[in-house]
Symmetry: C2
Subunit: 266 residues, 2 copies
Protein backbone atom coordinates (compact mmCIF):
# COMPACT_ATOMS: atom_id res chain seq x y z
CA UNK A 1 0.00 0.00 0.00
CA UNK A 2 1.27 3.44 -0.87
CA UNK A 3 2.11 5.78 1.96
CA UNK A 4 -0.86 8.19 1.98
CA UNK A 5 1.35 11.05 3.22
CA UNK A 6 3.56 10.86 0.14
CA UNK A 7 0.54 10.91 -2.15
CA UNK A 8 -0.86 13.75 -0.12
CA UNK A 9 2.11 16.04 -0.71
CA UNK A 10 2.05 15.58 -4.49
CA UNK A 11 -1.73 15.86 -4.55
CA UNK A 12 -1.57 18.96 -2.36
CA UNK A 13 0.78 20.79 -4.71
CA UNK A 14 -1.22 19.80 -7.76
CA UNK A 15 -4.56 20.82 -6.22
CA UNK A 16 -3.29 24.17 -5.04
CA UNK A 17 -1.65 24.96 -8.30
CA UNK A 18 -4.66 24.05 -10.44
CA UNK A 19 -7.12 25.88 -8.17
CA UNK A 20 -4.79 28.90 -8.13
CA UNK A 21 -4.67 28.89 -11.90
CA UNK A 22 -8.45 28.65 -12.22
CA UNK A 23 -8.80 31.57 -9.79
CA UNK A 24 -6.13 33.54 -11.65
CA UNK A 25 -8.14 33.10 -14.85
CA UNK A 26 -11.38 34.22 -13.21
CA UNK A 27 -9.52 37.11 -11.54
CA UNK A 28 -8.45 38.58 -14.89
CA UNK A 29 -11.95 39.97 -15.41
CA UNK A 30 -12.56 43.48 -14.13
CA UNK A 31 -14.65 46.55 -14.97
CA UNK A 32 -13.53 47.57 -18.46
CA UNK A 33 -12.29 44.03 -19.21
CA UNK A 34 -15.48 42.02 -19.34
CA UNK A 35 -14.88 39.87 -22.45
CA UNK A 36 -11.67 38.04 -23.26
CA UNK A 37 -10.43 35.55 -25.85
CA UNK A 38 -8.63 32.40 -24.72
CA UNK A 39 -5.28 34.03 -25.51
CA UNK A 40 -6.28 37.15 -23.51
CA UNK A 41 -7.13 34.88 -20.58
CA UNK A 42 -3.83 33.05 -20.87
CA UNK A 43 -1.76 36.24 -21.18
CA UNK A 44 -3.57 38.16 -18.44
CA UNK A 45 -3.47 35.26 -15.96
CA UNK A 46 0.04 34.04 -16.77
CA UNK A 47 -1.35 30.51 -17.23
CA UNK A 48 0.18 28.71 -20.28
CA UNK A 49 -2.30 28.46 -23.12
CA UNK A 50 -2.68 24.65 -23.14
CA UNK A 51 -3.44 24.59 -19.41
CA UNK A 52 -5.64 27.67 -19.72
CA UNK A 53 -7.60 25.92 -22.47
CA UNK A 54 -8.35 22.91 -20.27
CA UNK A 55 -9.31 25.00 -17.25
CA UNK A 56 -11.43 27.42 -19.29
CA UNK A 57 -13.19 24.48 -20.93
CA UNK A 58 -14.16 23.09 -17.52
CA UNK A 59 -15.17 26.52 -16.18
CA UNK A 60 -17.38 26.99 -19.25
CA UNK A 61 -18.99 23.54 -18.91
CA UNK A 62 -19.98 24.42 -15.35
CA UNK A 63 -21.21 27.93 -16.27
CA UNK A 64 -18.61 30.00 -14.42
CA UNK A 65 -17.68 31.37 -17.85
CA UNK A 66 -19.84 31.70 -20.97
CA UNK A 67 -18.89 32.31 -24.62
CA UNK A 68 -20.59 35.16 -26.43
CA UNK A 69 -21.55 35.24 -30.11
CA UNK A 70 -18.07 36.49 -31.03
CA UNK A 71 -16.48 33.50 -29.24
CA UNK A 72 -15.11 35.61 -26.38
CA UNK A 73 -15.42 34.49 -22.78
CA UNK A 74 -17.39 36.44 -20.19
CA UNK A 75 -18.36 35.75 -16.56
CA UNK A 76 -21.27 33.32 -16.58
CA UNK A 77 -24.70 33.57 -15.04
CA UNK A 78 -24.12 30.49 -12.87
CA UNK A 79 -21.15 32.09 -11.11
CA UNK A 80 -23.31 35.15 -10.45
CA UNK A 81 -26.12 32.97 -9.08
CA UNK A 82 -23.76 31.39 -6.54
CA UNK A 83 -22.09 34.72 -5.76
CA UNK A 84 -25.49 36.30 -5.11
CA UNK A 85 -25.44 34.26 -1.87
CA UNK A 86 -22.44 36.23 -0.52
CA UNK A 87 -23.66 37.51 2.87
CA UNK A 88 -21.42 40.60 2.91
CA UNK A 89 -22.87 41.93 -0.34
CA UNK A 90 -26.25 40.47 -1.19
CA UNK A 91 -27.19 39.47 2.38
CA UNK A 92 -26.54 43.02 3.55
CA UNK A 93 -28.16 44.44 0.43
CA UNK A 94 -31.39 42.50 0.97
CA UNK A 95 -31.80 43.98 4.44
CA UNK A 96 -30.66 47.50 3.51
CA UNK A 97 -32.47 47.96 0.25
CA UNK A 98 -35.98 48.87 1.47
CA UNK A 99 -34.46 51.56 3.73
CA UNK A 100 -32.36 52.91 0.88
CA UNK A 101 -35.38 52.89 -1.41
CA UNK A 102 -37.43 54.91 1.09
CA UNK A 103 -34.63 57.46 1.41
CA UNK A 104 -34.25 57.68 -2.35
CA UNK A 105 -37.96 58.00 -3.02
CA UNK A 106 -38.35 60.74 -0.43
CA UNK A 107 -35.35 62.84 -1.43
CA UNK A 108 -34.15 61.67 -4.88
CA UNK A 109 -30.62 62.02 -3.55
CA UNK A 110 -28.07 59.47 -4.81
CA UNK A 111 -27.94 56.78 -2.12
CA UNK A 112 -25.11 54.27 -1.78
CA UNK A 113 -24.14 51.35 0.47
CA UNK A 114 -20.54 50.09 0.61
CA UNK A 115 -18.30 47.76 2.63
CA UNK A 116 -14.56 47.87 3.19
CA UNK A 117 -12.38 45.19 1.63
CA UNK A 118 -8.74 45.60 2.63
CA UNK A 119 -7.66 49.17 1.90
CA UNK A 120 -10.49 49.89 -0.55
CA UNK A 121 -14.26 50.09 -0.54
CA UNK A 122 -16.62 47.92 -2.56
CA UNK A 123 -19.97 49.40 -3.58
CA UNK A 124 -22.78 46.90 -2.87
CA UNK A 125 -25.96 48.83 -3.66
CA UNK A 126 -27.03 52.24 -4.92
CA UNK A 127 -30.04 54.25 -5.99
CA UNK A 128 -29.07 56.87 -8.49
CA UNK A 129 -30.98 59.94 -9.58
CA UNK A 130 -30.92 59.81 -13.39
CA UNK A 131 -30.79 63.63 -13.48
CA UNK A 132 -27.35 63.73 -11.97
CA UNK A 133 -25.77 60.47 -12.82
CA UNK A 134 -22.04 60.49 -12.21
CA UNK A 135 -21.12 57.26 -14.01
CA UNK A 136 -19.86 55.82 -10.76
CA UNK A 137 -19.98 54.08 -8.37
CA UNK A 138 -20.50 50.77 -10.14
CA UNK A 139 -22.04 48.07 -7.94
CA UNK A 140 -19.24 45.52 -7.42
CA UNK A 141 -16.59 48.19 -8.16
CA UNK A 142 -13.66 49.09 -5.85
CA UNK A 143 -12.71 52.63 -4.89
CA UNK A 144 -10.21 54.46 -2.69
CA UNK A 145 -11.21 55.05 0.95
CA UNK A 146 -9.82 58.55 1.57
CA UNK A 147 -11.84 60.45 -1.03
CA UNK A 148 -15.56 60.06 -0.45
CA UNK A 149 -17.71 60.44 2.67
CA UNK A 150 -18.60 56.73 2.53
CA UNK A 151 -14.91 55.83 2.31
CA UNK A 152 -14.01 58.14 5.21
CA UNK A 153 -16.56 56.38 7.45
CA UNK A 154 -15.21 52.94 6.51
CA UNK A 155 -11.61 54.10 6.97
CA UNK A 156 -12.36 55.79 10.31
CA UNK A 157 -13.72 52.49 11.64
CA UNK A 158 -11.14 50.19 10.02
CA UNK A 159 -8.67 48.29 12.22
CA UNK A 160 -5.62 50.38 13.19
CA UNK A 161 -3.25 48.50 10.86
CA UNK A 162 -5.49 49.03 7.82
CA UNK A 163 -5.84 52.73 8.64
CA UNK A 164 -2.09 53.14 8.99
CA UNK A 165 -1.51 51.29 5.72
CA UNK A 166 -3.78 53.77 3.92
CA UNK A 167 -2.26 56.77 5.73
CA UNK A 168 1.29 55.74 4.90
CA UNK A 169 0.63 55.21 1.18
CA UNK A 170 0.41 58.14 -1.26
CA UNK A 171 -3.05 59.75 -0.99
CA UNK A 172 -4.23 60.64 -4.47
CA UNK A 173 -5.55 64.19 -4.75
CA UNK A 174 -8.73 64.38 -6.88
CA UNK A 175 -9.55 68.06 -6.23
CA UNK A 176 -7.94 70.82 -4.13
CA UNK A 177 -10.29 69.72 -1.31
CA UNK A 178 -9.21 66.05 -1.15
CA UNK A 179 -7.58 65.08 2.16
CA UNK A 180 -4.18 64.21 0.67
CA UNK A 181 -2.12 65.04 3.77
CA UNK A 182 -1.90 62.12 6.23
CA UNK A 183 -1.93 64.31 9.37
CA UNK A 184 -4.99 66.22 8.20
CA UNK A 185 -6.68 62.92 7.24
CA UNK A 186 -5.88 61.42 10.65
CA UNK A 187 -7.59 64.38 12.38
CA UNK A 188 -10.59 64.11 10.07
CA UNK A 189 -10.95 60.39 10.81
CA UNK A 190 -10.96 61.07 14.56
CA UNK A 191 -13.75 63.60 14.00
CA UNK A 192 -15.70 61.10 11.89
CA UNK A 193 -15.53 58.62 14.77
CA UNK A 194 -16.62 61.16 17.38
CA UNK A 195 -19.35 62.84 15.30
CA UNK A 196 -20.81 59.63 13.89
CA UNK A 197 -20.78 60.81 10.26
CA UNK A 198 -18.47 62.05 7.51
CA UNK A 199 -18.79 64.80 4.92
CA UNK A 200 -16.97 64.98 1.62
CA UNK A 201 -17.36 68.48 0.23
CA UNK A 202 -16.13 68.47 -3.40
CA UNK A 203 -13.27 66.11 -2.50
CA UNK A 204 -14.08 63.60 -5.25
CA UNK A 205 -15.03 66.13 -7.92
CA UNK A 206 -15.95 69.82 -7.86
CA UNK A 207 -19.71 69.29 -8.23
CA UNK A 208 -20.78 67.00 -5.38
CA UNK A 209 -21.14 66.81 -1.64
CA UNK A 210 -21.55 63.51 0.15
CA UNK A 211 -22.62 62.65 3.68
CA UNK A 212 -22.13 59.16 5.14
CA UNK A 213 -22.81 57.30 8.37
CA UNK A 214 -21.79 53.88 9.70
CA UNK A 215 -23.96 50.74 9.58
CA UNK A 216 -23.42 48.48 12.58
CA UNK A 217 -23.54 44.69 12.57
CA UNK A 218 -25.29 42.69 15.31
CA UNK A 219 -22.03 42.61 17.32
CA UNK A 220 -21.77 46.42 17.33
CA UNK A 221 -18.87 46.65 14.86
CA UNK A 222 -19.08 48.84 11.74
CA UNK A 223 -19.74 46.50 8.83
CA UNK A 224 -20.79 48.98 6.13
CA UNK A 225 -21.50 52.64 5.45
CA UNK A 226 -24.41 54.46 3.87
CA UNK A 227 -24.08 57.72 1.94
CA UNK A 228 -26.12 60.37 0.20
CA UNK A 229 -24.55 62.43 -2.57
CA UNK A 230 -25.97 65.49 -4.27
CA UNK A 231 -24.86 68.56 -6.19
CA UNK A 232 -23.04 70.97 -3.92
CA UNK A 233 -25.35 73.84 -4.89
CA UNK A 234 -28.42 71.82 -3.78
CA UNK A 235 -27.07 70.90 -0.36
CA UNK A 236 -29.00 71.25 2.88
CA UNK A 237 -26.25 69.70 4.96
CA UNK A 238 -28.11 69.36 8.24
CA UNK A 239 -31.02 67.63 6.54
CA UNK A 240 -28.68 65.21 4.74
CA UNK A 241 -26.81 64.36 7.94
CA UNK A 242 -30.05 63.64 9.80
CA UNK A 243 -31.50 61.54 6.97
CA UNK A 244 -28.36 59.48 6.45
CA UNK A 245 -27.91 58.81 10.17
CA UNK A 246 -31.56 57.86 10.70
CA UNK A 247 -31.52 55.54 7.70
CA UNK A 248 -28.18 53.93 8.64
CA UNK A 249 -29.51 53.33 12.15
CA UNK A 250 -32.65 51.76 10.71
CA UNK A 251 -30.51 49.34 8.71
CA UNK A 252 -28.36 48.54 11.78
CA UNK A 253 -31.51 47.80 13.78
CA UNK A 254 -32.87 45.52 11.02
CA UNK A 255 -29.56 43.64 10.92
CA UNK A 256 -29.69 43.12 14.69
CA UNK A 257 -33.30 41.91 14.52
CA UNK A 258 -32.47 39.48 11.71
CA UNK A 259 -29.59 38.09 13.78
CA UNK A 260 -31.82 37.78 16.87
CA UNK A 261 -34.32 35.87 14.74
CA UNK A 262 -31.52 33.45 13.83
CA UNK A 263 -31.15 34.69 10.26
CA UNK A 264 -27.65 36.20 10.49
CA UNK A 265 -27.57 38.21 7.28
CA UNK A 266 -23.86 39.12 7.24
CA UNK B 1 12.95 14.42 -23.06
CA UNK B 2 9.52 13.34 -21.90
CA UNK B 3 6.84 13.01 -24.53
CA UNK B 4 4.73 16.16 -23.93
CA UNK B 5 1.58 14.36 -25.05
CA UNK B 6 1.91 11.82 -22.25
CA UNK B 7 2.35 14.57 -19.67
CA UNK B 8 -0.52 16.41 -21.23
CA UNK B 9 -2.97 13.58 -20.72
CA UNK B 10 -2.07 13.17 -17.05
CA UNK B 11 -2.07 16.94 -16.55
CA UNK B 12 -5.39 17.24 -18.35
CA UNK B 13 -7.09 14.72 -16.10
CA UNK B 14 -5.61 16.26 -12.97
CA UNK B 15 -6.60 19.81 -13.98
CA UNK B 16 -10.12 18.85 -14.89
CA UNK B 17 -10.61 16.85 -11.78
CA UNK B 18 -9.28 19.52 -9.42
CA UNK B 19 -11.22 22.33 -11.14
CA UNK B 20 -14.35 20.16 -11.07
CA UNK B 21 -13.91 19.55 -7.36
CA UNK B 22 -13.41 23.26 -6.64
CA UNK B 23 -16.57 24.03 -8.64
CA UNK B 24 -18.46 21.23 -6.88
CA UNK B 25 -17.54 22.81 -3.54
CA UNK B 26 -18.65 26.29 -4.64
CA UNK B 27 -21.81 24.77 -6.14
CA UNK B 28 -22.94 23.35 -2.78
CA UNK B 29 -24.07 26.82 -1.70
CA UNK B 30 -27.66 27.73 -2.45
CA UNK B 31 -30.48 29.83 -1.00
CA UNK B 32 -31.14 28.33 2.42
CA UNK B 33 -27.62 26.85 2.60
CA UNK B 34 -25.44 29.92 2.85
CA UNK B 35 -22.98 28.86 5.58
CA UNK B 36 -21.24 25.50 5.78
CA UNK B 37 -18.55 23.86 7.87
CA UNK B 38 -15.66 22.07 6.17
CA UNK B 39 -17.36 18.73 6.76
CA UNK B 40 -20.64 20.07 5.30
CA UNK B 41 -18.69 21.19 2.22
CA UNK B 42 -17.01 17.80 1.90
CA UNK B 43 -20.25 15.84 2.36
CA UNK B 44 -22.38 18.06 0.11
CA UNK B 45 -19.81 18.15 -2.70
CA UNK B 46 -18.71 14.53 -2.46
CA UNK B 47 -15.07 15.68 -2.30
CA UNK B 48 -13.02 13.73 0.29
CA UNK B 49 -12.29 15.82 3.36
CA UNK B 50 -8.49 16.04 2.94
CA UNK B 51 -8.83 17.24 -0.64
CA UNK B 52 -11.72 19.51 0.28
CA UNK B 53 -9.56 21.05 3.02
CA UNK B 54 -6.81 21.94 0.57
CA UNK B 55 -9.16 23.35 -2.05
CA UNK B 56 -11.21 25.30 0.51
CA UNK B 57 -7.99 26.72 1.97
CA UNK B 58 -6.95 28.05 -1.44
CA UNK B 59 -10.46 29.36 -2.22
CA UNK B 60 -10.44 31.19 1.12
CA UNK B 61 -6.95 32.69 0.55
CA UNK B 62 -8.20 34.15 -2.73
CA UNK B 63 -11.49 35.40 -1.25
CA UNK B 64 -13.93 33.13 -3.12
CA UNK B 65 -14.94 31.84 0.31
CA UNK B 66 -14.77 33.61 3.70
CA UNK B 67 -14.99 32.25 7.25
CA UNK B 68 -17.50 33.82 9.59
CA UNK B 69 -17.09 34.32 13.34
CA UNK B 70 -18.44 30.81 14.00
CA UNK B 71 -15.77 29.33 11.68
CA UNK B 72 -18.27 28.42 8.95
CA UNK B 73 -17.57 29.12 5.30
CA UNK B 74 -19.69 31.47 3.22
CA UNK B 75 -19.38 32.86 -0.32
CA UNK B 76 -16.79 35.64 -0.27
CA UNK B 77 -17.05 39.25 -1.35
CA UNK B 78 -14.28 38.79 -3.95
CA UNK B 79 -16.25 36.14 -5.83
CA UNK B 80 -19.23 38.49 -5.83
CA UNK B 81 -17.08 41.36 -7.14
CA UNK B 82 -15.93 39.25 -10.10
CA UNK B 83 -19.42 37.83 -10.65
CA UNK B 84 -20.88 41.36 -10.71
CA UNK B 85 -19.22 41.61 -14.14
CA UNK B 86 -21.50 38.89 -15.60
CA UNK B 87 -23.08 40.58 -18.64
CA UNK B 88 -26.28 38.49 -18.58
CA UNK B 89 -27.15 39.59 -15.04
CA UNK B 90 -25.41 42.78 -13.98
CA UNK B 91 -24.78 44.10 -17.51
CA UNK B 92 -28.46 43.76 -18.30
CA UNK B 93 -29.43 45.04 -14.85
CA UNK B 94 -27.38 48.22 -15.24
CA UNK B 95 -29.22 49.13 -18.44
CA UNK B 96 -32.68 48.04 -17.25
CA UNK B 97 -32.66 49.44 -13.74
CA UNK B 98 -33.49 53.12 -14.42
CA UNK B 99 -36.51 52.00 -16.50
CA UNK B 100 -37.63 49.62 -13.77
CA UNK B 101 -37.18 52.32 -11.16
CA UNK B 102 -39.36 54.76 -13.14
CA UNK B 103 -42.08 52.13 -13.48
CA UNK B 104 -41.89 51.28 -9.79
CA UNK B 105 -41.92 54.91 -8.65
CA UNK B 106 -44.90 55.71 -10.84
CA UNK B 107 -47.04 52.69 -9.93
CA UNK B 108 -45.56 51.04 -6.82
CA UNK B 109 -46.25 47.72 -8.51
CA UNK B 110 -43.73 44.92 -7.88
CA UNK B 111 -41.38 45.01 -10.88
CA UNK B 112 -39.08 42.14 -11.86
CA UNK B 113 -36.49 41.34 -14.55
CA UNK B 114 -35.46 37.73 -15.27
CA UNK B 115 -33.52 35.67 -17.81
CA UNK B 116 -33.92 32.03 -18.81
CA UNK B 117 -31.20 29.57 -17.87
CA UNK B 118 -31.93 26.10 -19.23
CA UNK B 119 -35.45 25.09 -18.21
CA UNK B 120 -35.73 27.62 -15.36
CA UNK B 121 -35.69 31.37 -14.89
CA UNK B 122 -33.18 33.37 -12.88
CA UNK B 123 -34.34 36.61 -11.29
CA UNK B 124 -31.78 39.37 -11.96
CA UNK B 125 -33.42 42.52 -10.57
CA UNK B 126 -36.59 43.57 -8.78
CA UNK B 127 -38.30 46.50 -7.13
CA UNK B 128 -40.68 45.34 -4.46
CA UNK B 129 -43.49 47.22 -2.77
CA UNK B 130 -42.94 46.67 0.95
CA UNK B 131 -46.72 46.69 1.48
CA UNK B 132 -47.19 43.45 -0.39
CA UNK B 133 -43.96 41.62 -0.13
CA UNK B 134 -44.29 38.01 -1.19
CA UNK B 135 -40.95 36.70 0.05
CA UNK B 136 -39.91 35.81 -3.45
CA UNK B 137 -38.44 36.19 -6.00
CA UNK B 138 -34.92 36.36 -4.60
CA UNK B 139 -32.41 38.07 -6.91
CA UNK B 140 -30.10 35.25 -8.06
CA UNK B 141 -32.81 32.65 -7.34
CA UNK B 142 -34.12 30.09 -9.85
CA UNK B 143 -37.81 29.39 -10.48
CA UNK B 144 -40.02 27.26 -12.74
CA UNK B 145 -40.98 28.74 -16.12
CA UNK B 146 -44.60 27.59 -16.49
CA UNK B 147 -46.09 29.35 -13.46
CA UNK B 148 -45.52 33.12 -13.62
CA UNK B 149 -46.13 35.66 -16.38
CA UNK B 150 -42.39 36.35 -16.59
CA UNK B 151 -41.70 32.62 -16.92
CA UNK B 152 -44.37 32.19 -19.60
CA UNK B 153 -42.73 34.92 -21.73
CA UNK B 154 -39.30 33.32 -21.38
CA UNK B 155 -40.71 29.87 -22.12
CA UNK B 156 -42.72 31.11 -25.11
CA UNK B 157 -39.52 32.49 -26.67
CA UNK B 158 -37.20 29.62 -25.65
CA UNK B 159 -35.72 27.36 -28.35
CA UNK B 160 -38.08 24.56 -29.44
CA UNK B 161 -36.09 21.83 -27.66
CA UNK B 162 -36.13 23.68 -24.32
CA UNK B 163 -39.87 24.30 -24.64
CA UNK B 164 -40.54 20.64 -25.40
CA UNK B 165 -38.36 19.57 -22.47
CA UNK B 166 -40.49 21.70 -20.11
CA UNK B 167 -43.76 20.56 -21.72
CA UNK B 168 -42.85 16.88 -21.45
CA UNK B 169 -41.85 17.05 -17.76
CA UNK B 170 -44.49 17.07 -14.98
CA UNK B 171 -45.91 20.62 -14.65
CA UNK B 172 -46.34 21.38 -10.97
CA UNK B 173 -49.75 22.82 -10.10
CA UNK B 174 -49.49 25.70 -7.59
CA UNK B 175 -53.16 26.75 -7.71
CA UNK B 176 -56.24 25.54 -9.62
CA UNK B 177 -55.35 28.20 -12.25
CA UNK B 178 -51.78 26.99 -12.99
CA UNK B 179 -51.28 25.73 -16.57
CA UNK B 180 -50.46 22.15 -15.62
CA UNK B 181 -51.76 20.54 -18.81
CA UNK B 182 -49.13 20.50 -21.61
CA UNK B 183 -51.66 21.02 -24.44
CA UNK B 184 -53.24 23.99 -22.68
CA UNK B 185 -49.77 25.41 -21.93
CA UNK B 186 -48.71 24.96 -25.57
CA UNK B 187 -51.75 27.00 -26.70
CA UNK B 188 -51.05 29.70 -24.10
CA UNK B 189 -47.42 29.98 -25.23
CA UNK B 190 -48.51 30.48 -28.85
CA UNK B 191 -50.80 33.29 -27.64
CA UNK B 192 -47.97 34.85 -25.65
CA UNK B 193 -45.84 34.94 -28.79
CA UNK B 194 -48.60 36.45 -30.93
CA UNK B 195 -49.88 38.96 -28.34
CA UNK B 196 -46.45 40.11 -27.18
CA UNK B 197 -47.21 39.68 -23.47
CA UNK B 198 -48.24 37.08 -20.87
CA UNK B 199 -50.68 37.19 -17.97
CA UNK B 200 -50.56 34.98 -14.90
CA UNK B 201 -53.86 35.33 -13.06
CA UNK B 202 -53.52 33.67 -9.63
CA UNK B 203 -51.45 30.84 -11.16
CA UNK B 204 -48.61 31.18 -8.66
CA UNK B 205 -50.74 31.90 -5.61
CA UNK B 206 -54.36 32.97 -5.11
CA UNK B 207 -53.57 36.62 -4.35
CA UNK B 208 -51.57 37.95 -7.28
CA UNK B 209 -51.78 38.78 -10.96
CA UNK B 210 -48.67 39.26 -13.07
CA UNK B 211 -48.17 40.73 -16.52
CA UNK B 212 -44.89 40.29 -18.44
CA UNK B 213 -43.38 41.29 -21.77
CA UNK B 214 -40.21 40.29 -23.61
CA UNK B 215 -36.96 42.29 -23.61
CA UNK B 216 -35.09 42.03 -26.91
CA UNK B 217 -31.31 41.99 -27.35
CA UNK B 218 -29.55 43.97 -30.06
CA UNK B 219 -29.89 40.99 -32.46
CA UNK B 220 -33.68 40.90 -32.04
CA UNK B 221 -33.79 37.74 -29.93
CA UNK B 222 -35.60 37.64 -26.57
CA UNK B 223 -32.91 37.84 -23.89
CA UNK B 224 -35.00 38.65 -20.81
CA UNK B 225 -38.51 39.42 -19.61
CA UNK B 226 -39.98 42.18 -17.49
CA UNK B 227 -42.99 41.75 -15.24
CA UNK B 228 -45.31 43.68 -12.94
CA UNK B 229 -47.12 41.85 -10.17
CA UNK B 230 -49.89 43.15 -7.94
CA UNK B 231 -52.78 41.96 -5.83
CA UNK B 232 -55.54 40.55 -7.99
CA UNK B 233 -58.15 42.84 -6.42
CA UNK B 234 -56.10 45.95 -7.39
CA UNK B 235 -55.65 45.01 -11.03
CA UNK B 236 -56.27 47.34 -13.95
CA UNK B 237 -55.10 44.79 -16.51
CA UNK B 238 -55.03 47.04 -19.56
CA UNK B 239 -52.96 49.64 -17.73
CA UNK B 240 -50.49 46.97 -16.54
CA UNK B 241 -50.11 45.49 -20.02
CA UNK B 242 -49.42 48.89 -21.53
CA UNK B 243 -46.94 49.90 -18.84
CA UNK B 244 -45.01 46.62 -18.95
CA UNK B 245 -44.80 46.62 -22.74
CA UNK B 246 -43.71 50.26 -22.96
CA UNK B 247 -41.05 49.74 -20.27
CA UNK B 248 -39.76 46.48 -21.79
CA UNK B 249 -39.51 48.22 -25.17
CA UNK B 250 -37.59 51.09 -23.56
CA UNK B 251 -35.08 48.60 -22.13
CA UNK B 252 -34.77 46.83 -25.51
CA UNK B 253 -34.08 50.17 -27.20
CA UNK B 254 -31.43 51.08 -24.60
CA UNK B 255 -29.73 47.70 -25.11
CA UNK B 256 -29.65 48.30 -28.87
CA UNK B 257 -28.22 51.79 -28.42
CA UNK B 258 -25.53 50.52 -26.06
CA UNK B 259 -24.56 47.86 -28.60
CA UNK B 260 -24.48 50.44 -31.41
CA UNK B 261 -22.19 52.57 -29.27
CA UNK B 262 -19.84 49.56 -29.01
CA UNK B 263 -20.70 48.80 -25.38
CA UNK B 264 -22.43 45.42 -25.84
CA UNK B 265 -24.04 45.04 -22.43
CA UNK B 266 -25.18 41.41 -22.71
Amino acid sequence: MADPHVEDVADEEASRSVVSRALAIIGTFHGGRERQSLSDLSRNSGVPIATAYRIVHRLTEWGALERDEAGKYRIGLRLWEVASLAPRSMGLQRIARPYMQDLYETTHYNVQLAVREGTELVSVERFQNPNYRRGRPRVGGRYALHVTAIGLVLLAHAPEDVREEVLSAPLKRYTPYTYADPDQLRRVLAEVRSHGYAISDRQMDLDHVGVAAPVFGPDGSVIAALSCVLRHDDVDEKNMIHLVRVTANGISRALRKAAEAGRAPV
